[in-house]
């Protein structure tokens, strides 16, 4: 179980949070011009990295705000948490 540092509230227990998948996937600007392959890629294809992984969490039972987490999926160690819109930290 993790202790997660919410960028707004500080260290809290993992049970207050939920994870919502890979971060930094931008919605395409012009979806109507995309091919089926490009749209499928955006919707479904994921990097699913073994190692350093960027993902979105929400602080459901706290401030209810979204933020990003950089985590090692092999050791489950959380390396950095940062606010939405902030630059992706280097691995």
């Amino acid at each position: 179980m993790f202790v997660i540092k919410c960028p707004y509230c500080g260290d809290r227990d993992q049970t207050e949070f939920s994870c919502h998948g890979e971060a930094h996937i931008a919605r395409p600007e012009n979806p109507e011009t995309l091919t089926d392959e490009e749209w499928g890629e955006y919707l479904f294809i994921r990097s699913n990295k073994k190692g350093i992984h960027y993902e979105r969490w929400t602080h459901d039972h706290g401030c209810r705000r979204w933020f990003n987490v950089m985590r090692d999926t092999v050791s489950d160690e959380i390396l950095v948490t940062y606010k939405m819109g902030e630059e992706k930290p280097k691995s």
Binding site: N48, K49, K50
Partner: protein, 413 residues
């Protein structure tokens, strides 16, 4: 050596110390016609059916650890086929049909026990869902019975049907049940080796050689090897293997855990599962309760579930069975499951020629083992998926023809 009563008696004279090994440890050769990557039930079964039914002679199976040491040995051994959609019913029922003859086919007792599976309904919506699913099952030749509360109570007397989320009824599949998971891996391994398959353990694939879009061979921790065809049958590392060949998958790898209680006398003669309160439980032949529930929401390759999930598993169990509340849990473990967006597997071709993949079984791969292996063997042998396998291609994520079992039939177990 065939396993039989006569051989059992014969070996008793030497105190059972001279049984031949069920499979050997051959050296990796330089080239094979087909290499299967992944020594779980699905991979071993694929190698077996390739040799037996599709006449492929020169097959290797590579396993990075020991056979059956991954998700084949980490699941809760539940087998059923009462899925909603036609595509899923065809695939999982093909598996149940093969399960029924598997022990005699492999000359190895996989302890397939058709003890029946009750999927509980806790609300009016649940009752409507199981009714819809039962009618769908009838049309697909899958056995299903809808039971009301009294019938459930009569069949499972220890269950509390009047809890916070009362049990209003259940859908019962009598052909469903459990099997001994290790025996499935061992039985397929022994049978495959008897047909000439080289089973190479402790051999991790570190690279996939592709030239002009065609697979040529593999780099492994035991050296390089050439192959005319390669079938990837991973669990927990599907994206890692796909990346080696230069393509990506619609998969997230997440932890799923299970627990086993101290052994007790027979009390539960069926499998119980509930989506609404979310737990599933059966009793093993050793007397342990085998309990599981949901997966974690975050990606991980750690083979460990999160600690708080244990409470989410035990809460519903003790709500349904207050009589179990003082049992001690003896063992707990996690596996990594490869979940697809529609909770259906990926079986078929890849963007690389002669490279095939069978993965993405999520939380419910064990039940499909013989069916999955059988249709994938045909896919590898003929180069094209058959009628049962074809709806499960990677392309469905681009065409939109998803087989959406996540919301439709059940939590995929």
């Amino acid at each position: 050596m065939k396993y039989s009563a006569i051989n059992l008696v014969r070996n008793a004279f030497s105190y059972h110390e001279n049984w031949q090994k069920a499979w050997s440890s051959p050296e990796l050769k330089k080239e094979y016609d087909v290499i299967i990557v992944g020594g779980g039930g699905h991979g071993l079964g694929t190698a077996y059916y390739l040799a037996k039914e599709f006449g492929v002679k020169n097959i290797a199976l590579l396993e990075k650890g020991w056979i059956g040491g991954g998700n084949t040995g980490r699941n809760t051994t539940i087998i059923r086929s009462n899925y909603l959609w036609d595509e899923s019913a065809a695939l999982y029922n093909h598996a149940v049909n093969l399960w029924e003859g598997l022990s005699s086919e492999l000359n190895f007792n996989v302890m397939f026990s058709q003890r029946g599976l009750y999927h509980l309904a806790h609300s009016v919506h649940d009752m409507q869902e199981i009714t819809r699913r039962a009618y769908s099952n009838y049309l697909n030749g899958v056995d299903a019975e809808i039971l009301n509360q009294d019938q459930v109570k009569k069949n499972i007397p220890h269950m509390n049907v009047n809890g916070r989320y009362p049990v209003l009824g259940a859908i019962l599949q009598r052909r469903a049940g459990t099997a001994r998971h290790d025996a499935v891996a061992w039985g397929y391994a022994r049978a495959a080796e008897n047909l000439g398959v080289d089973i190479i353990q402790n051999c991790e694939v570190t690279g996939i050689d592709v030239s002009n879009g065609i697979v040529k061979g593999l780099q492994t921790t035991k050296g390089s090897v050439n192959a005319k065809k390669v079938g990837l049958v991973p669990a927990g590392h599907s994206s890692v293997l796909a990346n080696m060949a230069g393509f990506r998958l619609p998969i997230s790898s997440v932890p799923l855990q299970a627990l086993v209680s101290e052994p007790i006398k027979p009390i539960l003669d069926c499998v119980i599962m509930s989506n609404t309160v979310h737990v599933y439980v059966s009793q093993s032949d050793k007397g342990e309760l085998v309990v599981g529930a949901g997966s974690d929401s975050y990606n991980s390759y750690s083979q460990r579930g999160s600690f708080d999930m244990i409470e989410h598993i035990m809460g519903p169990l003790t709500e349904l069975f207050p009589i179990f509340s003082r049992l001690k849990m003896l063992r707990q473990w996690g596996g990594i499951v490869d979940v697809t967006p529609d909770r259906s597997p990926i079986i078929g071709k890849t963007p690389i020629e002669n490279l095939f993949i069978n993965c993405g079984w999520g939380t419910g791969g064990f039940k499909a083992t013989p069916g999955s292996a059988h249709v994938f063997a045909e896919t590898v042998a003929k180069g094209e998926p058959n009628k049962i396998a074809s709806p499960f291609s990677i392309e469905r994520h681009f065409s939109g023809a998803l087989v959406d079992e996540a919301a439709a039939a059940a939590v995929a177990h």
